[in-house]
Symmetry: C2
Subunit: 215 residues, 2 copies
DNA sequence: GTCTATATGCCGATAGAC
DNA sequence: GTCTATCGGCATATAGAC
């Protein structure tokens, strides 16, 4: 493995720091010094701090979302072929697997998920708008698919249930993050101790599917 | 109603702005000018920007957590009296009702919930440590209660399920927030349109209970 | 308790030498 | 592509008049 380029080092450092202190809470000085680069390097490689954030988000989200849509498409067309509606579990897995299988082997995906949390929270700021722009097509496709798996639900119920699923998954990632980070571990040990990611994923999938199918 | 004090005006403005742009993204200048107060007022009334955040959090969380623990205690002792374990729904309601009934009549609680999202995301920063300090006793009490309602679950499963419940609720609040805020509405209308809070709460409670009772 | 003025320092961004 | 020096601005915090 050759040593990573300055640009990649900046992306890695920015990801780490944005996840810890948020976009606004992280200075370009902190990023460049963490990456061992000079102060002007962010402007040289990305143009601005904001453009750096965009690349940080896209670097992780675009491959995950590609996998999500492919898995969903595969499940949907197989269901059509078998003359049945897609199952709720198939849809949940298409949304969750691309994220959680990566999280199991990559520390940085867990770090990254913290940035997603932050992005979702800051709706109308730079961060939130960027994030939603990236996620929009995926959200629309999955709500539509849920409509096939859950007949009798109106549009509003489907939107709500989709977002419940997202909420459960985000919080699942948050717990993985807590469990892996020594600093969090100390803070949370009493009520979120040593979490095994296998157990978490298994329990989470069953929680979400049961919730989506409720009533 | 007498006009509100400078201190209350500062708390209100800080809550609004922290929710929109985060703690780091909000300047004391923005807060004081929004509140119609002078620049030095935050340091005079609170000592620092950080101490202001602490008061913003406690002002909302302490009454809610008091109600949560009272409702939980009432449910638990009634169950004992009737010689049965508490139901999952009773526990979910004890945790969620104090928050969501307030959210139905108070715009500011919805705003506030955004700050909770931010707090949970920034685990090891000022914000996260503050938040967890306030929530700790509640978290411990509810995980213990879940153990009574869900026999046969080990400690780890109970912790995970508790956090799934929290995740679902947080995301539910996030959606209420989106639905009420005109700026968010524009961004999200395709996949989270006009959300009725009655429908959301009803669907959410059933989602959570089904998820918790899964398997 | 209010407000102005200001101290002190970090911010993002850029110019220009190498 | 790297790095230094620096610009102009805004940050938090405080001192001190009223």
């Amino acid at each position: 493995m050759g040593k990573k380029s300055t640009k990649d080092a900046l992306l890695d450092s920015a990801e780490k720091l944005f996840a810890k202190e948020g976009f606004h809470g992280t200075s370009v000085r902190a990023i460049t010094s963490e990456a061992g680069a000079h102060l002007a390097s962010i402007n040289y490689h990305f143009g601005s701090k904001e453009a750096l954030l965009k690349e940080v988000l896209e670097r992780r989200l675009l491959p995950i979302n590609k996998d999500r849509l492919e898995m969903l498409e595969a499940a949907l067309s197989q269901a059509v072929q078998e003359g049945r509606p897609p199952s709720v579990m198939e849809i949940v897995r298409a949304f969750a697997d691309p994220l959680f299988t990566r999280a199991r082997t990559s520390e940085s995906i867990i770090t990254f998920s913290n940035i997603v949390q932050i992005s979702l929270t800051q709706h109308d700021s730079t961060v939130g708008a960027l994030f939603l722009g990236i996620m929009r097509p995926v959200i629309i496709a999955f709500i539509k698919a849920l409509g096939l798996a859950l007949p009798g639900h109106d549009k509003e119920q489907l939107q709500l249930k989709f977002h419940f699923m997202v909420g459960s998954m985000l919080h699942g990632m948050r717990m993985l993050s807590m469990a892996r980070n020594p600093a969090h571990k100390k803070l949370h040990s009493e009520f979120a101790g040593n979490i095994d990611s296998e157990i978490l994923m298994d329990l989470m999938y069953r929680y979400i599917v049961a919730g989506l199918e409720a009533e």
